[in-house]
């Protein structure tokens, strides 16, 4: 589905990603772990198309298309979804109104007819049940005055509504208590199909107890320094990141 080759990215002349190689196929869940400042969130932002970063080298192909040529909205329209670490507040715009605008622009880009009010509501009801979110939250201004848990749940709800092919969860577990974490993970699991893929960016392994990855990659100083299966995450949980740093230093 997505193929990242030797990706280098910098911000204000400081190189953050120093050659990332990653291959994600449909049906797979990949976890990107790593200590703070290793470039995890940068990778998520670059894939979503944030313009603050300069791509200096490498390529990203999404469904046989050069992803780096596309604007952020085109990437979203083609099925890339980023669950933000810090969801943004938009005063005066309800989640419902926001999603209606988003879904209909996505549909227009795909040459589909806009959803009318009745069908939109139907879709909303269905997805609300799926991620267990309250109607009252959706009529409030987007993310304004939401608790941390509400914001993250709202992100997963948006993901459910937009039905992306590739979902990137950027530190979705940060700031969540264990109950909220379970609800969010549960939503992600329900949305998983054999045709979709998920990249979970996280600092801690606890989220991976609930969203079980097929592959775990450790990002350190802008490179993937170690890859493995779920057991790697458990090893990191137990031993921390220092042994990885030592290993890298020894090379």
């Amino acid at each position: 589905m997505i193929s990242i080759k030797n990706l280098h990215a910098s911000i204000e002349d400081k190189e953050i990603l120093k050659g990332i190689d990653l291959e994600v196929k449909a049906g797979e869940v990949h976890a990107i772990m790593g200590p703070n400042g290793s470039g995890k969130s940068t990778l998520a932002s670059v894939l979503a198309g944030r313009e603050d970063y300069d791509i200096t080298k490498g390529s990203v192909t999404f469904e046989n298309e050069d992803l780096l040529e596309l604007s952020p909205e085109e990437r979203a329209q083609k099925g890339i979804f980023l669950a933000f670490q810090y969801p943004v507040e938009i005063p005066g715009v309800s989640t419902t109104n926001f999603l209606k605008t988003a879904i209909n622009q996505v549909r227009e880009a795909r040459g589909e007819k806009a959803l009318d009010a009745v069908n939109f509501l139907k879709l909303m009801k269905e997805k609300m049940k799926l991620v267990d979110i309250d109607q009252s939250l959706l009529s409030r201004s987007l993310n304004e005055g939401f608790s941390g848990g509400e914001k993250k749940r709202n992100e997963i709800f948006q993901m459910a509504m937009l039905e992306p092919k590739l979902s990137i969860l950027d530190e979705t577990d940060s700031g969540l208590d264990i109950d909220a974490l379970k609800i969010v993970a549960d939503g992600v699991n329900k949305l998983k199909t054999k045709d979709t893929a998920t990249i979970v960016v996280t600092h801690y392994q606890r989220l991976l107890d609930y969203i079980v990855p097929d592959y775990v990659h450790v990002l350190y100083k802008g490179r993937i320094v170690k890859s493995g299966d779920k057991s790697l995450a458990l090893e990191l949980e137990e031993k921390g990141y220092d042994w990885i740093k030592e290993e890298v230093a020894a090379v």
Partner: protein, 481 residues
């Protein structure tokens, strides 16, 4: 280039939609102003002597006044002798009904999106259309008159209801109120008159569309709304002008009189030509709008969406004279390119238990300057009066300015006055968040801006709200390239 800068670039290339003009034969006064011009206008309108005298007195006052300098706007000195004070589309005879109105004129209004023919058929909104200086057609007149509602052009009211005009003209905005009110009083050409008798709830929105068409012409219309005891009316006003390189002056006066338990809701969507992206041309919009809640328990509510004009200078105000009367002001002012707006309101609390509410949303883009200026005055007798003011500013880019000038004057200790103000910038983060969900930049900006202005937009009548929303998006839209 960052996202913000790009959007900014796009805004600056936005074109004015109503910038066309139509050549009809016009019946005009020579350029300039003097006593003879005032007499000429009055004679053209076949006015009674008392009104001519009233005009001449106003002209005399105006000559001894000086232009106000306190608004936070800059523009070259206006040459009042280079303006034409009267221009009327020529019609062979006065139209008795809509079917006799010049088809060219009707086409003009259709291009503006106001089909008068259509208006005649659909129930909903009664329209009085004023082009340059003259009211050309009023719809639904008969239907309204069955209820005793008078809705007609100002000139017509002078002839048919002189006692009402005489009683209320200048009663809320006297001729000597300010420089432009005095000028208007001397040379006003037409406008709308509206009278709601006691106990009548006007069943439809009354609406006036103003259009400046001729070159070098000033528009000086006058609107007078009188709501008798326990009556209700919702009034809408819309305006556009052709795109011209020179600046044109619009100096209108609106007066509202609300008797006991009467309620008047006045909504404006102002879209005068704002000038081009370099600041050339555009309308100077110097308007005096004021209402008096004369009776107890009366209410006047102003809602305005200001998107046009090169320079705007306008403070729709309420004099809360009756006990328990209520004044409201809801405003969205958008400035872009080189536009300047100094707008706000005055709430003068005279009666007991009077309440006022001010919600002002300023949006500045390009190199524009947007000022809120508001005055809340609580007089000695105004026991238990309350005011709440909220002024929010939204900035786009770093070349524009937002300013707030609140004046509060309290002479009664029992008053409660609150003022809240915020300033924010449309963030790259907000735009990126929208884009990540598949929404393009332009729609994202429109969404964010409409969200910001929502509290005010919600106060507009339904059919107007849709138009205003589109207009907001349009004002801030550019050719994406």
């Amino acid at each position: 280039m960052s996202t913000d800068d790009q959007i900014l670039e796009e805004f600056t290339s936005k074109e004015y939609e109503h910038g066309w003009s139509v050549d009809f034969e016009a019946d005009e006064a020579p350029l300039g102003i003097n006593e003879d011009i005032v007499r000429f206008i009055s004679a053209k309108k076949e006015e009674p002597q008392w009104l001519l005298d009233w005009r001449l007195k106003a002209f005399d006052l105006w000559q001894n006044m000086t232009e106000p300098k306190w608004p936070n706007v800059k523009y070259p000195k206006i040459d009042f002798q280079a303006i034409r004070y009267y221009s009327a589309p020529k019609q062979d005879k006065k139209p008795k009904s809509l079917d006799e109105v010049d088809p060219e004129l009707l086409k003009t209004f259709e291009r503006l999106g106001i089909s008068l023919q259509e208006q005649k058929r659909l129930t909903g909104v009664a329209v009085d259309a004023v082009i340059d200086s003259v009211s050309v057609a009023t719809t639904f007149k008969e239907k309204l008159s069955e209820l005793g509602v008078i809705f007609c052009s100002f000139s017509e009211a002078v002839h048919e209801h002189p006692e009402l005009v005489k009683k209320y003209l200048g009663s809320v905005v006297p001729a000597n109120d300010n420089y432009y009110a005095a000028l208007n009083s001397a040379v006003f050409s037409d406008g709308s008159f509206c009278y709601i008798p006691k106990g009548v709830r006007c069943p439809m929105e009354l609406s006036t569309y103003f259009r400046i068409n001729a070159a070098n012409t000033g528009q000086f219309e006058r609107t007078l709304i009188v709501a008798e005891d326990e009556s209700y009316v919702s009034y809408l006003e819309g305006c556009t002008a052709p795109q011209r390189d020179e600046n044109q002056l619009h100096a209108a006066v609106v007066e509202i009189y609300a008797a006991k338990k009467a309620e008047v809701k006045y909504s404006t969507v102002q879209n005068w030509y704002p000038g081009d992206k370099n600041g050339k041309g555009g309308i100077y919009n110097f308007v005096t709008k004021r209402g008096i809640c004369a009776g107890d328990h009366s209410k006047i509510s102003w809602t305005q969406v200001e998107t046009g004009s090169a320079v705007t200078w306008k403070y729709p105000s309420c004099i809360l004279k009756g006990d328990n009367s209520v004044g409201e002001f809801y405003s969205v002012a958008v400035t872009n390119n080189h536009q300047q707006a100094d707008t706000g309101t005055k709430m003068i609390h005279i009666g007991r238990n009077t309440r006022s509410r001010i919600v002002s949303k300023g949006i500045s883009a390009g190199k524009s300057q947007n000022s809120y200026r508001g005055q809340v005055e609580i007089m000695k007798r105004a026991e238990n009066s309350r005011n709440f003011s909220q002024c929010d500013s939204l900035l786009m880019g770093d070349k524009c300015g937002a300013h707030t000038f609140p004046y509060i004057d309290i002479k009664n200790k029992t008053a409660q006055v609150e003022h809240e103000a915020t300033t924010s910038k449309i963030g790259e983060d907000q735009i990126f968040y929208c884009q990540q969900r598949g929404i393009d930049e332009e729609t994202a900006v429109a969404l964010i801006v409409n969200g910001f202005a929502k509290e005010v937009m919600n106060k507009l009548p339904m059919e107007f709200a849709v138009e205003a929303q589109k207009l907001l998006a349009l004002t801030l839209e550019g050719s994406v390239g």
